[in-house]
């Protein structure tokens, strides 16, 4: 299936994620949407009480990408999760694109 067609088959949580997928497709970069959740905290019984699911995984670069298009006040919580993920899973690379970064990309490519 062509990349652009694949985009239409996925229910993205946010419009910005769909746009990012199209952007990756244009550059022929393979991607997976929310492919894995990383447990971050457990209760005494070993049940997962907190986890983090990065938005994208780019296998070619072995890189997880998280888009944060939310308010700055909510970004702090996400930053804490990403810090925790890096502590627990240092073998994985994760890049966070903040709202400001993402606006730049959209502006750069004519979305705004």
């Amino acid at each position: 299936m062509l990349g652009s067609d694949r985009v239409t088959t996925i229910s993205f949580a946010h419009e910005s994620e769909e746009e990012f997928a199209r952007f990756l497709d244009f550059y022929q970069i393979a991607w997976e949407y929310e492919p894995i959740s990383f447990p971050l905290a457990w209760d005494e019984s070993g049940n997962v009480t907190e986890s983090f699911t990065p938005d994208f995984y780019l296998p070619e670069f072995e890189l997880f990408v998280e888009l944060t298009t939310m308010k700055q006040s909510l970004v702090t919580r996400k930053n804490r999760k990403i810090r925790r993920m890096r502590e627990l899973y240092p073998e994985y690379n994760v890049k966070i694109l903040y709202r400001k970064d993402y606006h730049k990309l959209l502006f750069k490519f004519g979305k705004l």
């Binding site: 550059y27 970069i29 070619e60 970064d101 730049k104 990309l105």
Partner: protein
């Protein structure tokens, strides 16, 4: 490297300039420094500089001049992603006219951010069997990097502010400024117009280069 700054309040600068981050002298010093490094690294080798159109044109020409006649120069252009329009996949729209086989290729860019453009170009050019392929960029924004690309020479790391001048444009304008400056979007809002709407939508100072217009 020394950095010079000037305010847009200077009468010598156009209103569209907010702050000069690389003046002519600093650009010249940066080009000389990079050229010297490249001369050292490629001594005795068949070096081919490939400038990525359009933005890298002035930098690439100055760089080759500083390196000297031991290097050759060619150009390449690719399509850029446009939301809801344009081609669906990146492609080369202006190809090189020189054989790359067994030559040492140095891709020359004005600015690198996500690295996706160069990632594509490197993959394509590798098919032509160069002896080596690396990247030289005048400006770098490593914080936005997604693709790991072999950026071997960097003139200066810069912030995410929108830059104009020395090849960098805003809607194909201001490339001819002899320095590199952050852009004063407020100057475009005088009299209203589309620029003002864009400016308000995105929080005023948070824009990045528009290489689609390079």
């Amino acid at each position: 490297m020394m950095s010079h700054s000037s305010s847009c309040q200077s009468s010598k600068l156009p209103n569209v300039v907010k702050q000069v981050i690389l003046d002519e002298a600093t650009i010249s010093q940066t080009v000389e420094r990079l050229a010297h490094q490249i001369q050292q690294d490629y001594q005795g080798l068949d070096l081919l500089l490939i400038g990525v159109l359009q933005g890298a044109r002035p930098f690439c020409m100055d760089l080759q001049r500083a390196i000297g006649p031991s290097s050759k120069l060619d150009w390449i252009g690719i399509s850029r992603y446009r939301h809801l329009s344009g081609s669906r996949k990146v492609e080369i729209v202006r190809n090189t006219r020189t054989s790359l086989k067994d030559r040492h290729v140095l891709l020359v860019e004005d600015i690198v951010d996500t690295g996706l453009t160069l990632n594509y170009l490197i993959q394509e050019l590798k098919k032509r069997k160069p002896a080596s392929i690396y990247v030289c960029t005048l400006l770098d924004r490593p914080r936005l990097r997604l693709a790991q690309i072999p950026v071997r020479y960097v003139g200066k790391d810069v912030s995410e502010d929108f830059l104009i001048g020395y090849g960098l444009d805003y809607r194909d304008r201001y490339r001819d400024l002899p320095y590199i400056a952050t852009m004063n979007f407020e100057s475009l809002s005088i009299g209203g117009g589309e620029e003002q709407v864009r400016d308000q939508q995105s929080g005023n100072e948070s824009y990045e280069q528009n290489p689609a217009h390079r």
